[in-house]
Amino acid sequence: MRGAKSATWVAGAIAVALTATACGGGSGSGNNAAVDPNGTYTYYSTEPQHELIPTNSNEVGGGYIIKNLFRGLVDFDAKGKLRYQNAESVESTDNQHFTVKLKKGWKFHNGEPVTASSFVDAWNWGANAKNAQLNSSWFEFIKGYEDVHPKEGDPETDKMSGLKVVNDNEFTIELSKPVSTFKERLFYDAFFPLPKAFFKDTKAFGEHPIGNGPYQQDGNWEHKVQFKTKKFAGYQGVDKPKNGGVIFKFYNTDDSAYNDLVSDKVDIMYKVPNSATSKFKSDLGERAVNEPYGGQTTIAFPMYDKEWGKPEKAKVRQGLSMAIDRDTIVKTVLKDAYDAADGWVPTVVEGYKKDACGEFCKFNPTKAKQLIKEGGGVPGNKMTITFNNDGGHRDWAEAVCNDIKQNTGVNCAAQPRPTFQQVRNEITGKKMDSAFRMAWVQDFPNISNFISEQYRTGAGANDMGFSDPELDKLMDQANSAKTIEESNKLYGEAEKKLTEKMPSIPLFFDHTLGGYSNNVQNVKFDTYRQAIWTDVEVKKK
């Protein structure tokens, strides 16, 4: 015990020394140095968890590499606007039947032309239950998905009936029901095309992926060290690389990577470690990046709980929400790394409406007390906010609880669980009996992704067990809407409706906290908090 205590003291002293001496860095860098179009730069990353197969990679380490080696039918530009890549057009009149025409001249890195079959075969393979791909549920809207991916047992066929190849440059998709955002969904990695070589030997492909994107693999994947890519000369997309290639450098800890960033040993980092959030501006100067991205944090309630499920408790949740002074917490505790939320959809996402949550997300202690009283109070006058301790959430969870305690007299405690995994286990096992942290990062920058995935009855990320037939109906209408604008409007109404039942309390919108080295310029981050890889310019040495 004595040893542990002295260790804390020493660590504390060092932390003080580090912050004290860290100031004064960050001399401004010339923003328009000569550029080397063939220069490569290094990108902070983590060792991919899986072999590099688009339908099986769902974590950032592998995802970032795959996103650079491949291009899908569509993708999003820096502002979150949809644009065509490998597709010439994706057309539909009813959001259920789609015709996809491909641009001509696209090639895989091995020279094989990209055809309609490259897409259809890849999707059929990825959806097939036999191949147990982690991203297979992305194909669930396509007609015939149940045939290749039955709930139990082996599939009887290996082709989805909804996919038909018309000719080399055209194929059609039929969905089992209308989905207004299906075109948006097509950007996702699971929908990338695959060359013939993939089906011959998937294992070998996982080590040496062949894509159709702006970069191709350069040399072998040096496991746990780095993955090198170089510019692909035959790339046909709209975003031609302004550099020679990206080297994904794998780090074990954010902290060690951050030290490398400060000393120009790694060029771009999209998230600085928690320990550096208060000093990275002074360390990096104008090379520090702090801007909003498509992610949000809420505290959710177990609607399956006997007490919290009662209809009048909606008022209690509204009241609790009004007792939280988000602005002050953001400024003091979170050091401007977040924005105070005014709804369930982040500002940078298409379909965002200002003040969607209305007065319920505004700080008003008097009204808060009144609402909680009207709703019969918090069960037992005490609540907890459960969070995972390995993600740096303790500070805000305690701050939120403090606000609730001070402004309403409800006994609130922040309740840590050691790991993310454990907390997820309890949540998906429906074992919660009070509030818990819920967070969502966009799959694609559209309001539907935030509302439908979390608040539709039985949806994948509906951790609350929340169900509201009216809301479901509204979302169904939105999904069969003719235009994306109309769909957005209906989803906006659904978001407004959430305030009535308040199954979760919106807290914050997330920020990208990143930075880049002196070796690169023109570094911008998109709403996925990824650098626009192809736009990065490498300075001449």
Binding site: S6, A7, V10, A11, I14, L18, T21, Q49, H50, E51, N56, N58, E59, A129, K130, A132, Q133, L134, S136, S137, H149, P150, K151, E152, G206, H223, K224, V225, F250, Y251, N252, T253, D255, S256, A257, N259, D260, V262, S263, K265, D390, P418, T419, Q421, Q422, R424, N425, T428, A439, W440, V441, G460, A461
Partner: protein
Amino acid sequence: MGRYVARRLLQMIPVFIGTTLLIFLMVYSLPGDPIKALFGDKAADPATVARLRHQFGLDQPLLTQYWNYLTGLFKGDFGQSFTGRPVADLIGEAFPVTIRLALYAFAIEVVIGVALGMLTGLKRGKFIDQLVLVLTLVVISVPVFVLGFLAQFFLGLKWQLITPTVQDSMNLGQLTVPAIVLGALSLAYVTRLTRTTVAENLRADYMRTALAKGLPKSRRLGVHLMRNSLIPVVTFLGTDLGMLMGGAIVTEGIFNVQGIGNTLYRAIQTSEGPTVVGIVTVLVLIYLVSSLVVDLLYAVLDPRIRYA
């Protein structure tokens, strides 16, 4: 001697089975479901989960799983990690790095530690002795991670003498600072241990005899004194090699060395049973072998110790 070695080797079998079984049981009782965790935030698709569970044999009783694992091991198969890569590959990538780092640290602690220990043991009470005693006390009382961060901060960021993290884990030059950090604690122990035994043995009868016989100083110190003084040191060093490999977790984390420590740490975090058990199995083997080597070395150092 041969029989002794055989007996020791046979003893390894129950130790080996016991330890792996214990680790196996511990890892599988960790909270969280590693297969569901593969899906991240997304809801896991039950059909895929069931298929993966079957693929990794997780749908069988624990003891059957252990038996399968053990029989696989004898065929040289370490199994597959939940992310699809053979554990043998993971081990093959990470161990050479850590062995390199650990041996480097080991070499530093042996050479410098024994030298300093001899020096201070012979010059007991002099200034140099006091100085080394204070310095080693400092090293012993400062935790390794503090030492690592300090080295990284001052040498890497402040004075820019080294790169803050290791860029190439197989480059011995870059491993120097991590190796010193890793070996520092044991270095201090080796120094103090050597100093004590040297000081003690200086007054032993055989040393006086050697002096009386008129043996030259180099022989007195080099053969008579050192050989006898090294016995406890060798014991310490033997177990220390295993410690270094395991203790590399902290150092590897700070300096981003892509070794076994990191692989193990990650695997524990994600309840990657096969990887954890595989790595620890190899670590156990290293412990067993190094302690056997230590026991055999006794006989070499002290002819009075003989094994039947």
